[in-house]
Amino acid sequence: MRAMNALIYDIRFQFRHGFYAVYVLVSALYVLLLYYVSPDYKERTALLLTFSDPGAIGLILAGGIVLLEKDQGVHDSLFVTPLRLHEYLLAKALSIAAISTVSAWGIQVCAIGLPAAPVPFTLGVLLTSALFTLLSIGIVARARSINGFIWLSQLYSLPLAVPLLGLFQIGPSSLYRIFPTQGSLVLLGAAHEQVMIEEYLYALVVLSMGVAAAYGWAYRSFERRVLARIGKGADLT
């Protein structure tokens, strides 16, 4: 129940601050862009866009939200309520994954058509979004300013972009299979091409392991660097 309330609060917060409105415009722009892309490259471009934008939306936005909460001293009062840290993290990951999913489906359906495999596609968006959101929370626990956070987030997320090289047939494809985001590309790619069941399982396992690792890291970072400082007032450093 507490997690549900936190989730509803986060969705309302994001709606009030214009995230949904902005993503309607951004998604419309991508649909327009895909309209002009040659049919030979359309599906690959859609995959690239879905991964790097609706998929990775949480990388910047989640950190921005947490940084604002830190500045306003929201955590001081939030964590004296019965709300647990894992409920807080879950609400952040799910609320941002909701925007990612709506946006990814909007781009896919309007620019290309219904995904060939809707369930793997949706799971791919949800898990990719959660991965980047949790990574972002781990990073923002280490940042003091918004610009410092943006720079750190690019640095930390760079390794996750490595499997994109495989989309252009650069380097041995087996090398990319250890990256959780290779799982994202397989699941998102299921929107356009048939994928073997073993490949689905591999993608789900590697991506879920990535999400679990990011969750553990975000939890520990938040606990040590944010919660441990509660009671010292708003972070104005």
Partner: protein
């Protein structure tokens, strides 16, 4: 002047501590290095692999990448101003001899100057398009975009979270060069509302030998940029009052 110098000294110190400020210099330099040293080898690789001639779109690439420089400086400054506003630092600056006006002037002049300098280096030494005197048109117009973006973010975002959401919309600026180079005649009219349409259009006209038309386009573009700057400045002043 002395007061602004103190703020500049502080910013240089901050630049070493805050990696994003450093990125405002390194980012455009990275764009320059990419264009100067990597664009040609990359285009050879792409042509061999995908039979696509990137060099035939060199002017488009040059204008598209030029858009990145003021965008980086503008977004960075806008977010910095929002950060300082969220932390009530602007109120502190306002009661120092710097004054609130001096603070804004300094905050906006720095990104414009940086964007102008970096854009000039990029255009003069990038080496993928011919250097011509009309390059001043895109150079001046794009330099005016950095303060526009910064003010737009600071004026229309209530806090840094909204600033981040709005900065996503700045991606729309990349549509300007795309419209100029790829979209046929009448549809280009859609682009006139985008500030980034004007630098690319004036450059393309100059490159096709239509110097007079390029000068007129630059004039209209300059007036439009001034108007946008005025609107953003009014909106920002209103929010602060």
């Amino acid at each position: 002047m002395m007061n602004a110098r103190a703020l500049l000294r502080n910013d240089i110190r901050q630049m070493l501590k805050d990696p994003m400020l450093l990125a405002s210099v390194i980012g455009p330099l990275a764009v320059f290095v990419f264009v100067r040293y990597l664009f040609r080898p990359l285009s050879v690789w792409v042509e061999e692999r995908y039979a696509f001639d990137m060099m035939s779109h060199a002017e488009f690439a040059a204008m598209l990448l030029l858009t990145v420089i003021p965008l980086l400086a503008g977004v960075m400054t806008g977010l910095l101003m929002l950060d300082e506003r969220d932390e009530n630092l602007i109120a502190y600056f306002a009661v120092t001899p710097l004054t609130r006006k001096g603070y804004y002037r300094y905050r906006l002049l720095l990104p414009s100057g940086l964007a102008c300098l970096m854009s000039a280096v990029y255009l003069l030494f990038g080496g993928i398009v011919d250097v011509r005197v009309e390059m001043l048109y895109p150079l001046l117009l794009t330099s005016a975009e950095a303060p526009c973006i910064a003010l737009f973010l600071a004026a229309f975002a209530a806090n840094k979270v909204e600033g981040l959401a709005l900065s996503k919309l700045c991606g729309l600026l990349f549509v300007g060069p795309v419209l100029v180079f790829f979209v046929p005649g009448p549809w280009q009219a859609v682009g006139i509302i985008l500030p980034t349409y004007w630098p690319s259009e004036s450059y393309l006209q100059a490159a096709s030998g239509e110097s007079g038309l390029a000068a007129v386009t630059f004039g209209i573009g300059a007036a439009y940029h001034m108007l946008l700057l005025y609107i953003a400045d009014r909106a920002f002043a209103k929010r602060m009052d």
